[in-house]
Symmetry: C2
Subunit: 246 residues, 2 copies
């Protein structure tokens, strides 16, 4: 499918305004994605206000795209709305737990991806900001998110002012397993990652960071154990504050 | 977008075989979805073998669709492959923690949704089985999943032998929040859920289960607090067994 297969993340946008009705229509397409028990365990916060974008910028680790995009959509796992419906209808909700949070996280992600496909189908460009969950606590304050909600991911959106090249992926056989998972030995890993490691951009990454291997750029620079542990503890505390874990 | 907006879950499939090359091509479209740091934190297990489907059936709480579908795709959050690449390249992975699991869960869900869109675009029908995470432990045994992997969701897939009606969704204004989250009062909740509550199928659900309200069907029958707590503890133990939490 051409549209899906040509997806690239867009980080530079033109000044063209995104029509509010178009925005609603692509979010509607998001709500047509499958959802657990048809509970629709998500909300979408639209950010257009430039002052609020300024405040969100550091929460996205100052990625310029968070400020450049005319629209930010923060996708929020939401058991608040559903639980309120229960409480107003003589029903006792019991959704402050891990499996319910997981269901909401999946629902939210499926809706977000449908929104991205619909956006691109309408000529818009998108970029996921995976930073949202890292700074969930600050998003909750800034976007006034109530308990039993959790910001999962943000999609930056607008009309593209660039046409980046398709990014690399490992060969499909590295993803697919027939019937049972076939674990990888060194030769297979070498083969799967050979193309990625051969890219000029990869070699530049390695050189710039004074590393020996591309994998070290990930473990020592981009996704470090210490950082992962810091943000994991922070996320767990936020989930407790949000009453997802009691 | 017509394709997204007309999505319905398919639970009855014809005998028509899904061409293996078509299957690969739709999974390829899954891999074109955005992914955290281009790490592609997922694997896909293809189940076609009828004996294995028989064994998976109870893990999906005996939903007939799990057996009827010619193909099951189990989408697995996977930090095993990436961590192996690190270990084989003198890099120390540090991904046994909540934020890494969350990144993998989101990556996996985005890929799954792209696969579903690509499948439907090729005339196939799909149904998500949200039961996978509930019985992750048993999936791990049956599909031989290694540590640092976790089965997130399953997509049942084949050529449709039914044309169900579009399911209801709450009005879009119930999902969207401008700039900040606007919490819901009783009048708003009543309005958002009025259509769902008015459906004949909803009233049948309420009557069949001897309940007073539709919300009680969710809290007392379909998604019960006790069950949620049981499966949450099970999931947490499985995440520990899989070394996602140390």
């Amino acid at each position: 499918m051409e549209l899906l297969n040509k997806h690239v993340s867009i980080r530079n946008f033109s000044d063209k305004v995104v029509d509010p009705d178009l925005l609603k229509s692509i979010i509607y397409s998001g709500t047509r994605a499958s959802t657990t028990g048809n509970m629709q365990l998500y909300s979408v916060i639209i950010t257009k206000d430039s002052k609020r974008k300024e405040k969100l910028l550091p929460l996205h680790f100052n990625q310029p795209v968070a400020k450049n995009a005319p629209v930010l959509l923060t996708f929020v796992a939401d058991f608040n709305r559903f639980s309120k419906w229960c409480l107003f209808n003589e029903a006792q909700p019991g959704y402050n737990n891990l499996i319910s949070f997981t269901n909401a996280l999946i629902d939210t992600s499926l809706a977000a991806q449908n929104v991205c496909v619909a956006a691109e189908n309408n000529g818009l460009g998108i970029c996921y900001l995976g930073t949202t969950a890292y700074n969930a606590k600050e998003h909750i304050e800034l976007l006034e998110l109530p308990q039993l909600t959790f910001p999962v991911t943000t999609v930056a959106l607008g009309y593209p002012e660039e046409r980046p090249e398709l990014t690399d992926r490992i060969p499909l056989k590295g993803i697919i397993h027939d019937e049972v998972y076939k674990d990888y030995d060194k030769a297979q890993i070498d083969e799967l990652y050979a193309f990625k490691e051969s890219l000029e951009s990869s070699n530049k990454f390695v050189a710039e960071n004074n590393k020996q291997t591309l994998a070290q750029v990930f473990t020592d620079v981009r996704y470090k154990k210490d950082d992962n542990e810091f943000f994991s503890e922070k996320m767990m505390n936020t989930l407790r504050d949000q009453e997802f874990f009691v």
